[in-house]
C-alpha cells in the first residue's frame, strides 16, 4: 500500500529529442493517495501504457522521478517495487495448473506451503476459479485466463499498487460488466491503490474515483467523473468524454465576452484574451435548450435513442449536437437555442480560459 507521486516525468523512446512529438510523455506530475482507485483514460497512442510501465518499473523514465510513499523508486525493478500488473491479454503459464499459476508469485517470494495454500484458495474463491483450480490453465476460456492473470496480481498481500492495462479488451461484453463490478468490489474489500488504464470512458468512469485524461503524452485533466463531464479543462476532454461529446465551435473573445457568430453570449466572468491563436466555445449537448430567441439554428436530423433524442443542427459557426428528452417537442426546420451559462466555457488554444 502506498501513495504514489510522479515528479516532472518525461519519457522518450528515441535517443535524441528534437521536438515535442519525439516525447511519448511530457511533464507528468501526479499525486495519488494510498488506497485510491484511479483511471488513466485516453485514446490509443496517448502514452498511457508507457506511463503505466514507468510506474511499474518495466521502463525507466528519461527524466523525472517515481516516488512510493515519498521514497524514490525510479531506479528499482518491478520486484523491488512490489507491484502487480495485469496486461491487455491474458498472460498465463500454459504448462501449469490454475492453482500453480496463482501460487507462482508467492512461491518465488518464499512463502510457506500452508500460507500459499490459504491465499490461493481465498483468491480462487473470490474470482470463482475454485472448480477449475486443478485444471491446466491452457484449457480455460479467455475470461477464465484473464481471471488467472488478475488472481496472480491479487494473491500477494504485499503489493504497493495493482495496475491494470486495458484488462477487459479480450472479454465478452456481458462478462465485462461482471468483471468490472468484481474489480470495484475487490477494491473496496482489499483497499489497495489501483490504477486502471483504458480507452473506454465508461470503464474509467465506473471504476475510478479520480480519472486522469491523457492526450498526446500530456495529462490534460485530472478529476472526478463529474468534474470531467461538467467542466472539461481542455477541448480534448470535452470531445472524448460524453456521448455525444462536447460541441466546440470557433468564436471570438471581445471585451471579455464570447462572440459566437455575431451573438454575444452572457458570461459570468471577464475573459482574458491572451492573443490566442485559436479561440473556441464549448457546450455539452445536454446543456442546450430550445427557446424563443437566441442562436438561430437549422435542424438537420433527429435520432431517437429511446431515452433521449439526439438532434443534429447547424448554426452559422458550425454543426451543433443537442440532447433533449424523448418527450420534448422538437421544432422542425429552423429554431432558436440557448446555452446554459453555467456550463458554457471559452477555450484558448484548446485550454479553458478562466
Amino acid at each position: 500500500m502506498a501513495k504514489i507521486t510522479l515528479k516532472n516525468l518525461s519519457h522518450s523512446y528515441l535517443s535524441k529529442q528534437n521536438s515535442d512529438v519525439d516525447w511519448a510523455l511530457r511533464d507528468i506530475n501526479i499525486d495519488w493517495k494510498d488506497g485510491g482507485a484511479y483511471a488513466l483514460l485516453g485514446p490509443s497512442g496517448c502514452g498511457k501504457t508507457t506511463l503505466l510501465n514507468i510506474i511499474s518499473g518495466l521502463l525507466k523514465p528519461t527524466k523525472g522521478e517515481v516516488l512510493f510513499d515519498d521514497k524514490d523508486m525510479t531506479a528499482l525493478n518491478p520486484v523491488e517495487r512490489d507491484i502487480a500488473q495485469i496486461f491487455q491479454f491474458p498472460v498465463i503459464y500454459d504448462t501449469m495448473t490454475v492453482y500453480d499459476n496463482l501460487a507462482f508469485p508467492l512461491k518465488n517470494r518464499g512463502l510457506s506451503q500452508t500460507e500459499i495454500d490459504t491465499k490461493v484458495k481465498e483468491i480462487g474463491d473470490m474470482l470463482e476459479l475454485t472448480p477449475t483450480l486443478n485444471n491446466k490453465a491452457a484449457g480455460l476460456t479467455a475470461d477464465g485466463k484473464q481471471k488467472i492473470s488478475l488472481g496472480r496480481g491479487l494473491v500477494r498481500s504485499d503489493v504497493n499498487v495493482i495496475m491494470f492495462d486495458e484488462p477487459l479488451t479480450v472479454i465478452d461484453p456481458h462478462l465485462k460488466w461482471v468483471l468490472r463490478s468484481k474489480l470495484k468490489e475487490l477494491h473496496q474489500k482489499i483497499n489497495r491503490t489501483m490504477i486502471y488504464v483504458t480507452h473506454d470512458q465508461i470503464e474509467a468512469l465506473t471504476f475510478a474515483d479520480q480519472v486522469v485524461v491523457m492526450h498526446e503524452g500530456q495529462i490534460v485533466q485530472t478529476g472526478t467523473p463529474v468534474e470531467l463531464f461538467e467542466k472539461p479543462k481542455h477541448t480534448f476532454v470535452g470531445h472524448f468524454i460524453g456521448s455525444p461529446g462536447m460541441n466546440i465551435l470557433p468564436c471570438d473573445i471581445e471585451n471579455g465576452q464570447i462572440n459566437l457568430g455575431g451573438k454575444i453570449l452572457p458570461n459570468k466572468i471577464n475573459l482574458k484574451n491572451n492573443n490566442f491563436k485559436k479561440t473556441q466555445v464549448g457546450i455539452r449537448p445536454e446543456f442546450i435548450n430550445f427557446s424563443n430567441d437566441g442562436i438561430q439554428v437549422k435542424i438537420n436530423r433527429v435520432s431517437d435513442t429511446g431515452r433521449h433524442k439526439v438532434i443534429d443542427a447547424e448554426c452559422s459557426s458550425g454543426n451543433i449536437k443537442i440532447l433533449a428528452n424523448s418527450s420534448t417537442q422538437i421544432p422542425s426546420g429552423s429554431a432558436h437555442i440557448t446555452f446554459d451559462q453555467k456550463y458554457t466555457y471559452a477555450y484558448g488554444d484548446n485550454w479553458i480560459i478562466e
Binding site: P78, V79, F89, F104, N108, R152
Partner: protein, 288 residues
C-alpha cells in the same frame, strides 16, 4: 441454374499425376516388387515371398547398422537440441547483430552435403588437416581413418557443425514470437531466469521444437552423403550407418531383393517413429 458438365479440368491435374507417379509411386512400387523376388539380371525374376524380409530382420549385419544408426541419431539430437536452443537464447533480438547472426547461422545449411563431407575430410586429416594436425600436436592420438572412436567423433562433430543452425533458426523464430507481456509478467511475479525458460520460453517453443526434432531425426536417421565422403563407413564398419549399408548391399553386392526389403523396413521405421513422436507431442494441442 444448370451447371455445365465440364471434365476438361482434369487435364490440368494430369501433370501432377505424372510427376507424382514418376517421383514416388513408380519407384516405391518397383522397390516393393524387388523385395519379393530374386533377380539375376537380364530381367529374369523368381518369386521369393517374404524370404528377404525374414532374412533382413534376422540379419546381424542389419541389427549392427541399425544399432549404429540409432546411437548416432540419439547423440546428435542430444547435442544439437540443447546447443541450438542455447545459441538461439543468446542471439540478439534487435540491432545490427540480428542479420549478422542470421547469415552466419544460415551458412552451413547452404553448403552442399558432399562438400561438407569433403571439407571435413581434409580438415580432419591427421597429417595435413587443421583439426587433425592440431589435435595430434596437442598430444592426442587422433586418426579418424583408422580409429573408430575418432571416426565417430569426427562424424558427430561434422553433423553438429552442419545442422545445429537449423535448430537455432527454428528456436529463434519461436522465441521471437513470444509477446513482451509474458516477460514483463514473469518479471513482476519474481520469476528466475530458469523459471522464464521453463514456464514461458520452452512451452511457447513447443511447436517449432517438435518440427526441429522431426526434421533432425529424419535427416540424421537417413544420413548418407557426408559420412560417405568423410569415412566411407569405416574404419571397418565403424561408421557404416543404415543408408551406407543399404547402398553397399544394393549397388556393391547387387543384392537387389534383400536391399529392397531393407529399404522398406527402413522406411517403415522412420515413418513409425515420426508418427508416434508427432502424436505424443500434439496430444494436448487440440484442446486449446
Amino acid at each position: 441454374m444448370n451447371k455445365t458438365l465440364n471434365q476438361r479440368a482434369w487435364l490440368f491435374v494430369i501433370p501432377v499425376f505424372v510427376l507424382v507417379a514418376f517421383n514416388a509411386a513408380v519407384p516405391l512400387m518397383t522397390v516393393v516388387n524387388y523385395s519379393f523376388q530374386e533377380t539375376f539380371g537380364s530381367n529374369v525374376f523368381a518369386w521369393e515371398g517374404t524370404r528377404w524380409f525374414k532374412e533382413i530382420l534376422h540379419s546381424e549385419r542389419f541389427h549392427a547398422s541399425l544399432g549404429r544408426q540409432v546411437i548416432f541419431t540419439f547423440i546428435i539430437l542430444l547435442i544439437q537440441l540443447p546447443l541450438g536452443i542455447g545459441i538461439a537464447l543468446t542471439m540478439p533480438k534487435k540491432g545490427w547483430g540480428v542479420p549478422v547472426c542470421l547469415i552466419l547461422m544460415s551458412m552451413p545449411l547452404l553448403i552442399p552435403w558432399n562438400v561438407v563431407g569433403a571439407m571435413w575430410n581434409i580438415f580432419a586429416l591427421p597429417d595435413i588437416g587443421f583439426l587433425g594436425n592440431s589435435l595430434n600436436s596437442l598430444g592426442f592420438d587422433y586418426n579418424f581413418t583408422q580409429q573408430s572412436g575418432d571416426a565417430w567423433f569426427t562424424t558427430i562433430l561434422m553433423d553438429v557443425w552442419h545442422w545445429t543452425s537449423l535448430v537455432v533458426l527454428l528456436s529463434y523464430a519461436g522465441l521471437n514470437s513470444i509477446q513482451p507481456a509474458y516477460y514483463q509478467a514473469a518479471e513482476i511475479d519474481g520469476a528466475s531466469r530458469w523459471d522464464i525458460f521453463r514456464y514461458i520460453e520452452l512451452p511457447k517453443m513447443k511447436k517449432v521444437l517438435t518440427l526441429a526434432i522431426l526434421l533432425r531425426f529424419m535427416d540424421s536417421f537417413m544420413i548418407y552423403t557426408e559420412p560417405f565422403v568423410l569415412t566411407g563407413g569405416g574404419p571397418g564398419n565403424a561408421t557404416n550407418f543404415l543408408s551406407l549399408d543399404l547402398v553397399k548391399m544394393a549397388l556393391g553386392q547387387f543384392d537387389l531383393g534383400p536391399a529392397a526389403a531393407m529399404s522398406l523396413i527402413y522406411f517403415l521405421i522412420v515413418l513409425l517413429i515420426c508418427w508416434i513422436f508427432y502424436t505424443i507431442m500434439m496430444k494436448d494441442e487440440g484442446r486449446t
